[in-house]
């Protein structure tokens, strides 16, 4: 698998050398991609292969104006003169059409020597397990969910894996990584007239089809959650003491705070966080990380600009220490990049993007946290969120708020729930954290409304005061 990269690597090295004859910096990122998705629901079985990411190349150069890139997916050594000529022609045309527009001053990022070749592990390769076994497995899981109650309208079960190999070559860098992640999800739907209620449970692993074994236990609970939603009602708007489950904590980490510390937003003067470096932005119980110190779906050894990854501590005991940064933004800001320059695919620009982002665990138990609430809610199953780095406004949605009265769950459920408010207010109100941080990497993150990249997020159960509507 992925031997194509070995075949074209000498040609790509020659391409970088050829571009360096014209430009003071040149690099190439090559991506080969292997993915497959299996899905079953009432409408049928669907198997789709090689639809994510894609296989191709992106060249980056610096000319007299600044940074420029060219993406393509047809390469052989004899095309090198054509690629160089196309880039030169396009840049000349574009520079002429933009006459009078000044470039954003950008120092050429450092190209310190580095050589790396690493692979993430897996126990069962989905291709080896095979289509028949995987379809049989998800069919059985679906039937298990359908059997819970006749009011279940449908159950959908999906499994996706992506394995990719990336090669980054510049004058001084030769980086090579192979990564595989697998995601799965169970969605169960129940109907109340024209209104369909659905419950969802995601699964993820930095690995392969061994994930399927973890799905068995949760399926029936998803069905019961969907049925419970049939009796849900809109929540009376207000501010409440809440316990967030690890997934909801993860959404708050990612959407409410994480996007605000992506440092390309600092370059644009779009992030309030820039003014709060070194200050308390959260309760001392809050420590936030991003990076590849954990093994989850967004783990990688280097990013899409050839920067090695690590563990970035964003918030340390409530104090904002730093943001995460891509290479170009780092050069503009005069800081070190953190390995967060990521692309949706070789066809897209690199932006500062989160990877595995999470709050560290504390010292409480979830039961103790619920018992501490007189009148509030347990928030579960996040459904969507949107960033507001400029104003730190929260917009997150969760499917379920379970009522807590006098330290006990009453069984009453409200849905859907919108979380609003000011991010530091919420984070400073954090008063308890459970011991274990749990991450999930089943989702993709957009920048604005596009640029979808694989991320994971999470944390422990978290008690905070939150405005719900």
């Amino acid at each position: 698998m992925f031997s194509t990269i070995d075949r074209v690597k000498p040609g790509l090295q020659k391409l970088v050398a050829a571009l360096r004859e014209t430009y003071p910096y040149a690099s190439v990122l090559a991506v080969t991609d292997d993915s497959r998705a299996w899905q079953i629901r009432r409408s049928g079985v669907v198997i789709a292969a090689n639809r994510d990411g894609g296989t191709g190349f992106v060249v980056r150069v610096f000319d007299g104006v600044g940074c420029a890139e060219y993406s393509f997916n047809e390469f052989s050594e004899d095309k090198i003169p054509d690629i160089c000529a196309v880039m030169a022609k396009r840049l000349a045309e574009q520079n002429a059409a933009l006459e009078g527009i000044a470039p954003l001053p950008t120092p050429i990022p450092a190209d310190e020597p580095a050589v790396l070749k690493k692979t993430t592990g897996w126990k069962v390769h989905p291709r080896e397990l095979g289509d028949e076994a995987i379809v049989n497995k998800i069919t059985a899981l679906r039937e298990k969910a359908l059997a819970v109650d006749e009011r279940v309208l449908d159950a959908a079960v999906a499994v996706t894996y992506r394995s990719y190999r990336k090669l980054f070559l510049s004058e001084h860098r030769d980086l090579d990584q192979t990564v595989m992640w697998t995601n799965a999800a169970v969605v169960v739907m129940a109907a109340r007239g024209q209104e369909l209620k659905s419950a969802y449970h995601p699964f993820s692993v930095l690995g392969g089809a061994e994930l399927l074994d973890r799905m068995e236990a949760g399926v029936e609970q998803v069905a019961r959650d969907a049925l419970a939603l049939l009796d849900s009602q809109p929540i009376p708007p207000g501010e409440y003491d809440c316990v967030c489950d690890p997934e909801t904590t993860g959404m708050i980490v990612h959407e409410a705070f994480g996007h605000g510390v992506e440092m390309d937003m600092f370059v644009k003067d779009r992030a309030l966080a820039r003014e709060f470096i070194g200050q308390y932005v959260a309760s001392p119980l809050v420590t936030m990380h991003d990076g590849s110190a954990v093994e989850e779906a967004a783990t990688a050894f280097f990013d899409d600009e050839g920067t090695l990854t690590g563990d970035t501590v964003i918030i340390d005991k409530g104090i904002l220490k730093r943001g995460m940064c891509d290479a170009l933004s780092a050069a503009r800001l005069g800081v070190e990049p953190t390995g967060n320059g990521r692309r949706e695919s070789y066809e897209r620009k690199a932006y500062t993007r989160m990877t595995n982002t999470y709050f560290q665990g504390g010292d409480a138990d979830p039961e103790e946290m619920i018992a501490s609430i007189e009148d509030g809610f347990l928030l579960e199953s996040p459904s969507s969120g949107m960033e507001d780095p400029k104003n730190w406004g929260i917009q997150c949605m969760v499917t379920t708020a379970k009522e807590i009265k006098n330290g006990r769950l009453t069984g009453k459920i409200y849905s859907p729930i919108v979380l609003t408010g000011y991010v530091p207010d919420l984070l400073k109100s954090v008063s308890m954290m459970s011991r274990t941080a749990v991450l999930c990497g089943s989702g993709f993150c957009g920048k604005g409304y596009k640029e979808w990249v694989k991320v994971s997020d999470g944390g422990p159960y978290m008690k905070a005061r939150i405005r719900l509507g």
Binding site: A48, R90, R270, N391, T420, Y449
Partner: protein, 427 residues
């Protein structure tokens, strides 16, 4: 490459297939304030191949039919192409669904898009649109913080084992920009745009309107109280609300009974206001499956006229396959906007992310800018959130006579709804 794929399909014994050849060239520009951040361009050529496989059922029954798709590129050698196709064909037997006929064959000459956007050099078109984008950015207090522009030209060819061979070209300009106002509060607003023509005038007008809104957001107060309001939505939010009707009438929703809508049914329910007239617009001459696309009346007087969707689900429902639509138009509109938003009401202009949940019918989002309109005054407010249900709101919809046009929507600029739940801010 197409001949290589056809030969490989024959070599692998695959007799039912579709090939989609998609070629795209782009010019992409990224700005911080008015300074050029990055220039990008792209040349990609992709081949999507869908293979179909029948699985025999007991005698007298039609076979089940499965399919799987793969992406191929020309730098693959013949051995790699064979392996990909064989893998897909093997997998297709495990995706066996009830039998359906493949799309009817169509052969036609290439449909070529004409006009400046389709014909001018991409760099030149990008330069023109950049100048249009910054044309309205002439104020000190409110300005464009950052912007992205993508100009693309593409060609598409669809072939099938049934005999389809059609092709067309397309060109688009799209992107996003963020406007910022620093006083009295430092705020920003995010905007997206998409045009099928080189419409610099529309882009300039959109930027000018966004600058007005962000200036108002900067002085907006968090004074919104929780409660029920008459809610006015405008622009893209109207399109998002109306997308409920498009999604609920989709064959892939009706076939599995996620939607119980029947043809002729008054799906808007009993209504004391305007009855919806919605048409789905064809923006490409052919769907991805090679189905000729045509405008499709969807709702007339609030009653469902058609199902729509991909070949398989339309076949299952026994209706003519229509292909997938990307543009909705709505003919409604009875009140000039100035009258529509006469108080008391809340005109919610922009949200952090406004969403419609097709399953539940709930719509909402966090308010970035709204005007609380009462006693002839419009007070800018921010914060809080809308949490509405179209199942309730559709009983009382009133649309503006002013129109709003984007690449994906052609309809009234605004809609007014009664008694929508709003969670307040600053209480």
């Amino acid at each position: 490459m197409i001949e290589r794929i056809k030969t490989a399909l024959a070599r692998c014994g695959i007799t039912m297939w579709r090939i989609n050849e998609n070629v795209e060239e782009t010019a992409e520009l990224f700005f911080v304030k008015k300074q050029l951040d990055t220039r990008r361009s792209k040349d990609v050529r992709k081949y999507g191949v869908t293979v179909f496989r029948d699985v025999e059922n007991p005698e007298g029954e039609k076979p089940s039919r499965g399919f799987t798709s793969v992406q191929l590129i020309s730098s693959m050698d013949d051995g790699q192409i064979d392996r990909e196709l064989q893998g897909a064909y093997y997998a297709a037997q495990f995706a066996a669904n009830p039998y359906f006929d493949l799309p009817d064959p169509v052969q036609a000459p290439m449909v070529e898009k004409t006009g400046e956007l389709a014909e001018a050099p991409l760099a030149q078109s990008a330069g023109k649109m950049v100048k249009a984008l910054f044309a309205a950015d002439v104020h000190q207090d409110a300005f464009v913080n950052s912007a992205e522009l993508f100009v693309s030209r593409s060609s598409h060819r669809i072939l099938s084992s049934e005999g389809t061979d059609v092709s067309y070209t397309d060109a688009k300009v799209k992107g996003e920009f963020v406007v910022q106002c620093k006083e009295p509060e430092d705020v920003e607003m995010h905007n997206i745009y998409e045009y099928n023509e080189l419409d610099g005038e529309a882009l300039s007008a959109k930027v000018a309107e966004a600058l007005t809104f962000v200036r108002d957001r900067a002085r907006a107060q968090k004074v919104l109280k929780s409660g029920k309001y008459d809610l006015v939505l405008s622009g893209n939010q109207v399109a998002t609300v109306l997308s409920y009707y498009e999604d609920r009438s989709a064959a892939h929703m009706v076939y599995p009974k996620y939607s119980t809508w029947q043809l002729g049914e008054a799906v808007q329910g009993e209504t004391g206001s305007e009855r919806l007239d919605i048409t789905l617009r064809a923006t490409d001459p052919y769907s991805e499956e090679g189905i000729p696309m045509a405008d499709l009346p969807l709702l007339e007087g609030g009653a469902l006229q058609a199902y729509h969707g991909a070949n398989r689900f339309c076949r299952y429902l026994g209706v003519k396959p229509t292909g997938l639509y990307e543009k909705l138009s709505c003919a409604n509109g009875t009140l000039p906007f100035e009258e529509l938003k006469k108080g008391p009401c809340l005109w919610a202009v922009t949200f952090s992310d406004f969403q419609m949940d097709v399953m539940s019918g709930h719509f909402g989002g966090e308010i970035r800018l709204a005007y609380l309109i009462e006693d002839g005054k419009a007070i800018p407010v921010t914060g809080g959130s809308v949490n509405g249900s179209i199942l309730d709101a559709q009983k009382n919809l009133t649309f503006s006579t002013e129109r709003y046009l984007t690449a994906r929507y052609d309809g009234p600029y605004a809609v007014r709804m009664k008694d929508i739940s709003i969670a307040g801010a600053g209480e």
